[in-house]
């Protein structure tokens, strides 16, 4: 297991109830299923997944996120300075630039 899920609290002042989690480390064909299972437990039924800090995230990871998007109300965040942003754009993964944007869209005021 070479990944870590780190819960991210709502920023001060935001009254959000949607849980958010950052993925750190590496996701590849060898551990994508583990990551997927861990995320699925957290998505009850909504979840914001911040992929910005990952060091490595391959097509197995993208496929896993794709299935989660089908199964649950999930939003993905990839910040503009994340190394994986070009890859995410290439495979047409829908994402938000920031946690705030994601929350705004998932928790309409």
């Amino acid at each position: 297991v070479n990944f870590e899920l780190r819960p991210v609290g709502p920023p001060a002042g935001a009254g959000g109830t949607v849980p958010a989690v950052q993925i750190l480390g590496e996701v590849d064909a060898a551990n994508a299923t583990d990551v997927s299972n861990a995320l699925r437990e957290l998505a009850s039924p909504t979840l914001i997944i911040d992929l910005s800090p990952v060091d490595y995230f391959d097509s197995a990871g993208f496929a896993m996120i794709d299935r989660l998007l089908d199964e649950a109300r999930v939003a993905v965040v990839i910040s503009p300075d994340s190394v994986m942003r070009p890859a995410a754009e290439l495979v047409n993964l829908p994402f938000y630039d920031s946690l705030t944007d994601a929350r705004t869209s998932m928790e309409p005021a």
Binding site: D28, D55, A60, L90
Partner: protein, 1287 residues
């Protein structure tokens, strides 16, 4: 009886037969008396002899009576047992004269004596035998000091002595025969040598076929036998019997040849052997047809196996020499007849040239007269000038041929004189000033005074040829001629141009006679190919040298150097120049090459326009004159110019030559047929090449008519008129024009496809015909694979690699349009892909924007079965009319026929290749290195060969590789090859010393029938130590390419080829060793790669060195393919070629090599290793990520698709860093069998997108041995990409 004392009794009881005999002897009645009364010394000695296993004998008493042991019995032969106790002179009567004095000596002096290999002619069984003995005689000294007898220990050495003597004879014979180059000498020498060794060969005679009538007669015999031997072999063959080994034994020779007996006396042999000569197997049965050797056999030596083998070896040696001599004589005859042929050719050329010159001169003289009497603008004068110019050209060529043949025949000698070569050269070259000015080329003359010895007339030929040649190939820029003294006191001239240049591989043949540069892009394709050969011969006659340097696209420099001048007569330079200025045919001819400055005259004319394309100015003028009487004519000097003019003037008809610079006639027609506006232009092709093939080629290329030169003016006019009339008829039916154009295009497509060699080529042909493809920009053919459940798709036209990779193999049931078409056997018409059924939207999205409209047709075999489907695509939505659909149906039918034909050929190819693949697949590979291999069968023939390679994993950090070559081709060679290959694999596992591995292999090879002379190189790569150890059995040197491109040959560890019994086995054969640092590449290959007929092997090594050096930074697989393709001789490989390349796993400054088992758990460690390397390079974080992600995706694909996640297989990564880019190649060893598109919804579909999308460019190479994906990341560009993405 009872008087034998106890000591003797004990010894005798142990003494075998002789012991018993001594015990039972009636001694008291014997002259030696009662043993009890024998002296103690005698008794002790007898006891010693009886107990001894060596032959021993005692000579006792005055009579030297014998007492001996069991070992001595064989010495006596039939003299035993009577010899016991008998007097020496009675027992050894036959040799008594020799041994009696020796024994007496011992008895009288008491001194022991001994002899080595003493020859004694012993009589046994009534026959005298030549025998040899080594023995000692020692005195038996009694208690009183008296000599009481002689004791002798003896051993017989006959066998060894004879064997050594015969070996000496054989080696003398071999040495003497070594130089025999004719059958005569061989036989004479053999007889002479036999005559010198009468002990074993009392006489010898040779019977051989007579040159004249083929009858076998006595050819010669040893001195004593010459006169008495029968002339015919029949005297011998009629007697005796043929033994099992084919030798005929002839008995009773003295009776057969009484004269021989008289001559040789007592030594006359009693029997002889008749042995066939000359390799004819079997026995001598009659005397009429077989050469034979008759050998007399010594009467003193038994004909045992050893003697028989000796005789056979003598005959074998003579036979081999005869065979060699015959081969040598054959070679010499061939060489002589070739020389004669060459001489005949030269004579023929000289005669023909000479015969041509007279009539030409007789034509040119009156012509000059006629011209001088006509006014300049007379039309007749114009025509006559054409005749004059070409007559002169012909004369010049004939003169050159004549000069050349004279030189070849040695008939021409230079009239040397000391000249100022500078002034002479300048004067000659300046005759080109005018033509260069007209052509807009600068002629630079830089000539300084230089004394040299030259024949001014020959020098003129040299200079004019070189300058004229430079002019021919220089379209713009300058020609520079320099002359001046050089440092050695001689003179040097150079002719440099800024012309098209000459490719390096053509340079060596440049001066060969009749050699013409291929596709040189000069002003004209005219030429005899004699000019430069003549120049070289002339320069050589001046003791000078000539060399050429050339860079394609930049120019050529020819340098002629003459040696220092001796004192000699001076020639007036002025004379020579005056002469050359009078009539420089070379410059005149060059003037004719100049372009036509395209006489554009499409004024308003009611006449139809004919475009003429020909590179010969006179031919252009002639055609213009002939056609100009009825039509307007525009002319072009080459194909490219003609194409431009066709587009500008829209002529009604094109008349074109075949051979033209820039673009030839075929290229021109292809370009016209591909141009929608010109496609219907009627074309008449003119060529000097006759014959149905040339005509067929012209018509297949799209010409409407083909005229063979020479043709009459009337012929040409009538064909042009007929074609124009036909075109006019077509035009008068406007509705029909399009139809006729389609019919024509379909017919032409049918013809093209008949020649297509691959599906991909057929598709290209389809796209090149805009009429047939309806202007489609992309096309694809999907063919059912062996299982009938998948389509294997071939693409052409504008589609990205990513698309063609993704839709490479699709299941018939998948939602892909081609699959749907093939599955339902229904045409699909898709005017706009965005309006497609939802099932196909994914495919439509992948293929947009290249494909927005499509027509798909099923492909049927002749019997109606579905073969697959073809699709055409356009980049924008498109209305598709019923007429379009009708056309595509017909195109599909044409394509189906071509595809069916190609499939049959490919299936055969596939069978041959899959056999080879089965034999040569690398299979289980190693995690210690990136290993790739390639195999190229000989020539175009698909057949299995005897070359192999192997890779054997030897633990995590070591791998053993081999390349080997079995003599021969075909199934037998392949069988031995696979046996050796398996044995090598097993031996590699048994020991880790390469020399020991080859020892084992050699021992195994000895047991095979056809493994002799197989060669092999075996190497063990140790990536932990960074070394390679190796051994080579008669195999060409392996080589190491360092990271910087230095090439090191591995020349140690040499040993003979396998299973060669005549070479002494060397169990201590050495192992070689060398460094193999990370980033370097080890190559093993078979000799087919470097060998070319009629070329020294060193040239092959030199070429390989250059080809290998270029591979320093290429992945192993690419290196194998590049080397094989770069080393390919012009006519293809004559022998099959195998090559295996290994790059050890490891990281260096500019490279990173990794290999791993095909398991996803390997991905992360591999990524960490690569990340460390990238970090060391100092690459940006974003680039590191992109490279790692692309590589990771390629590795996942390679593991899953290429290796089926089989952990016994491995995949490898080879990465190279340069200043501005990083390239990564991922290699697997399998064939992708799964549907590459069906898993699109899962991660693999995205994988290809990431591979192609993140890299600057990516490409995929599939071979029978596996798939390679190479991704290149430009470092600057990647940084830019991330910059834009992050703003």
């Amino acid at each position: 009886m009872g008087s034998v004392p106890a000591d003797l009794r004990t010894a005798a009881s142990l003494g075998g037969e002789m012991g018993s005999r001594i015990l039972s002897c009636d001694w008291p009645a014997h002259p030696l008396g009662d043993p009890a009364e024998w002296s103690a010394a005698v008794r002790t000695t007898v006891a010693t002899a009886l107990a001894c296993r060596f032959p021993a004998v005692l000579w006792l008493g005055d009579q030297l009576r014998l007492i001996y042991n069991d070992g001595y019995i064989p010495m006596l032969g039939d003299k035993h047992p009577a010899a016991l106790g008998s007097a020496g002179s009675d027992v050894w009567w036959d040799i008594w004269d020799v041994i009696c004095p020796l024994l007496d000596g011992v008895v009288t002096t008491g001194k022991a004596t001994w002899f080595d290999d003493l020859k004694l002619m012993v009589v046994n069984d009534g026959r005298r035998r030549e025998r040899y003995f080594t023995f000692t005689y020692s005195p038996i000294i009694g208690a009183g000091g008296a000599i009481e007898g002689v004791f002798c220990v003896v051993s017989e050495t006959t066998e060894r002595v004879l064997s050594e003597r015969r070996l000496r004879t054989l080696s003398t014979l071999a040495a003497a025969l070594m130089d025999a180059q004719s059958v005569e000498t061989a036989l004479d020498t053999a007889i002479e040598v036999c005559g010198q060794h009468p002990a074993d060969l009392p006489f010898a005679a040779v019977y051989a076929g007579d040159e004249a009538d083929g009858r076998v007669r006595l050819r010669g015999a040893t001195p004593g036998a010459t006169a008495v031997m029968p002339q015919s072999l029949a005297s011998f063959t009629g007697r005796g019997s043929v033994e099992a080994d084919g030798l005929r034994l002839v008995p009773e020779l003295p009776a057969l040849l009484p004269a021989l007996a008289t001559r040789l006396g007592d030594d006359c042999p009693e029997q002889g052997l008749v042995i066939t000569l000359g390799g004819t197997a079997g026995a001598v049965t009659d005397g009429s047809s077989t050469a034979a050797l008759v050998l007399g056999l010594s009467r003193y030596t038994p004909l045992d196996d050893q003697y028989r083998a000796f005789c056979r070896l003598v005959a074998d040696r003579v036979s081999a020499t005869i065979a060699n001599a015959r081969a040598y004589q054959g070679e010499r005859r061939r060489a002589e007849s070739l020389a004669e042929l060459d001489q005949a050719k030269t004579t023929f050329l000289a005669n023909v040239s000479h015969e041509f010159r007279t009539p030409l001169t007789l034509m040119l003289g009156p012509l000059d007269d006629a011209l001088s009497s006509l006014s300049g603008d007379d039309a007749l004068a114009d025509r006559l000038r054409i005749v004059q110019r070409n007559g002169r050209r012909l004369l010049r060529m004939v003169n050159a041929l004549l000069d050349f043949s004279r030189i070849e025949a040695g008939q021409s000698q230079p009239q040397l004189a000391v000249v100022d070569l500078g002034a002479l050269t300048e004067g000659i070259a300046s005759s080109f000033a005018e033509v260069c000015r007209i052509a807009g080329i600068e002629l630079v003359l830089d000539c300084q005074a230089a004394r040299a010895e030259a024949d001014p007339a020959m020098w003129e030929t040299i200079v004019l040829n070189l300058v004229s040649n430079a002019f021919k190939y220089t379209l713009t820029g300058s020609i520079t001629v320099t002359a001046g003294p050089d440092r050695d006191g001689g003179a040097t001239m150079t002719v440099s141009d800024t012309g098209t240049g000459i490719a390096a591989e053509q340079l060596p043949r440049l001066f060969d006679r009749f050699y013409r540069l291929a596709d040189a892009g000069g002003r004209t394709a005219e030429g005899s190919g004699i000019g430069l050969a003549l120049v070289r011969s002339l320069v050589e006659m001046h003791q000078g040298t000539i060399d050429v340097e050339s860079t394609p696209g930049q120019g050529t420099t020819v340098r002629v150097s003459l040696p220092a001048a001796h004192a000699g007569p001076s020639a007036s330079v002025a004379d020579s120049i005056a002469r050359s200025a009078t009539g420089n045919d070379y410059a005149d001819e060059a003037l004719g090459w100049l372009g036509t400055s395209s006489r554009a005259k499409r004024a308003f004319s009611s006449r139809q326009l004919v475009l003429v394309a020909d590179d010969n100015a006179d031919m252009r003028r002639h055609l213009e004159t002939v056609l100009g009487s009825r039509w307007d004519v525009v002319v072009a000097g080459d194909g490219r110019q003609a194409l431009e003019m066709a587009r500008r003037y829209r002529p009604d008809l094109l008349v074109t030559d075949v051979m033209m610079p820039e673009l030839d006639g075929f290229g021109l027609i292809a370009a016209i047929r591909a141009d929608a506006d010109l496609a219907s232009l009627p074309v008449i092709m003119l060529s000097a090449r006759a014959g149905p093939e040339a005509v067929g080629g012209g018509l297949a290329a799209g010409a409407d008519h083909y005229l063979v030169k020479p043709f009459t003016s009337a012929d040409l006019i009538s064909h042009v008129a007929a074609r124009l009339a036909a075109a006019a008829r077509d035009r008068s039916r406007p509705a029909g024009e399009e139809v006729s154009q389609r019919e024509q295009a379909l017919a032409s497509l049918t013809a093209d496809m008949g020649a297509a060699k691959s599906v991909s080529q057929a598709l290209d042909m389809l796209l090149r015909s805009p009429v047939c493809s309806l202007g489609a920009t992309a096309a694809a053919v999907g063919l059912l694979d062996e299982t009938g459940s998948k389509l294997r798709i071939t693409y052409a036209g504008d589609l990205t690699r990513e698309v063609t990779d993704r839709y490479y193999l699709v299941s018939l049931s998948s939602p892909v349009m081609l699959a749907e078409t093939a599955r339902t056997d229904q045409r699909m018409v898709v005017p706009d892909t965005s309006a497609l059924d939802a099932r196909f939207l994914a495919e439509a999205a992948d293929k947009a924007p290249a494909i927005r409209a499509s027509i798909l047709e099923p492909l049927h075999a002749d019997d109606g079965a579905v073969l697959g489907a073809v699709g055409l695509g356009w980049p924008g939505p498109r209305e598709i009319s019923p007429a379009d659909a009708d056309l595509t149906r017909r195109v599909a039918a044409i394509l189906a026929r071509a595809v069916a034909r190609i499939s049959v050929a490919e299936r055969e190819h596939q069978i041959a290749m899959s056999l080879q693949e089965r034999l040569l697949g690398l299979g289980v590979t190693s995690p210690a290195a990136a290993v790739s291999a390639a195999y190229e069968p000989a020539g175009e023939v698909m057949r299995v060969g005897g070359d192999w390679y192997t890779a054997t994993p030897l633990g995590p950090a070591r791998v053993g590789i081999s390349a080997g070559d079995v003599v021969g081709h075909g199934l037998p060679a392949a069988t031995v090859m696979s046996q050796l290959r398996s044995a090598l694999g097993a031996a590699a596992l048994a020991t880790d010393n390469p020399a020991a591995v080859l020892d084992l292999l050699d021992r195994y090879a000895q047991t095979l029938d056809d493994a002799a002379f197989a060669t092999v190189a075996y190497a063990i790569i140790d990536t932990a130590a960074g070394t390679v150890s190796y051994a080579c059995a008669g195999h060409p040197y392996p080589l190491v390419v360092g990271p910087d491109g230095t090439v090191t040959w591995l020349q140690d560890g040499r040993r003979p080829p396998l299973a060669v019994k005549s070479f002494a086995p060397r169990l201590d054969a050495p192992t070689g060793g060398a460094a193999l640092p990370p980033g370097s590449l080890l190559l093993l290959y078979t000799d087919g790669l470097i060998e070319r007929r009629s070329e020294p092997l060193d040239d092959g090594f030199t070429r390989l060195r250059a080809a290998a050096a270029a591979c320093a930074r290429l992945p192993a697989g690419q290196a194998c393919r590049d080397i094989i393709s770069q080393m390919t001789p012009g006519q293809g490989y004559a022998d099959d070629v195998a090559i295996i390349a290994v790059r050890p796993a490891g990281t260096a400054a500019a490279s990173h090599v990794d290999a791993m088992r095909a398991s996803f758990s390997e991905l992360r460690p591999a990524r960490e290793r690569m990340r460390a390397w990238l970090a060391h390079l100092g690459t940006s974080r974003a680039t590191v990520h992109d490279v790692l992600l692309g590589t990771g995706e390629a590795l996942s694909n390679a593991m899953e698709h290429g290796s089926d996640l089989d952990p016994r297989r491995t995949v490898s990564v080879e990465a190279f860093a340069a200043a501005d880019e990083i390239s990564v190649t991922v290699t697997d060893s399998g064939r992708w069998l799964k549907d590459s598109a069906a898993s699109r919804a899962s991660q693999r579909g995205r994988g290809l997108k990431l591979i192609h999308g993140l890299a600057t460019h990516a490409r995929t190479a599939r071979t029978i041995l596996g798939t390679q994906v190479t991704m290149t990341y430009r470092i600057g560009q990647a940084a830019h990409k991330e910059g834009t993405a992050r703003q």
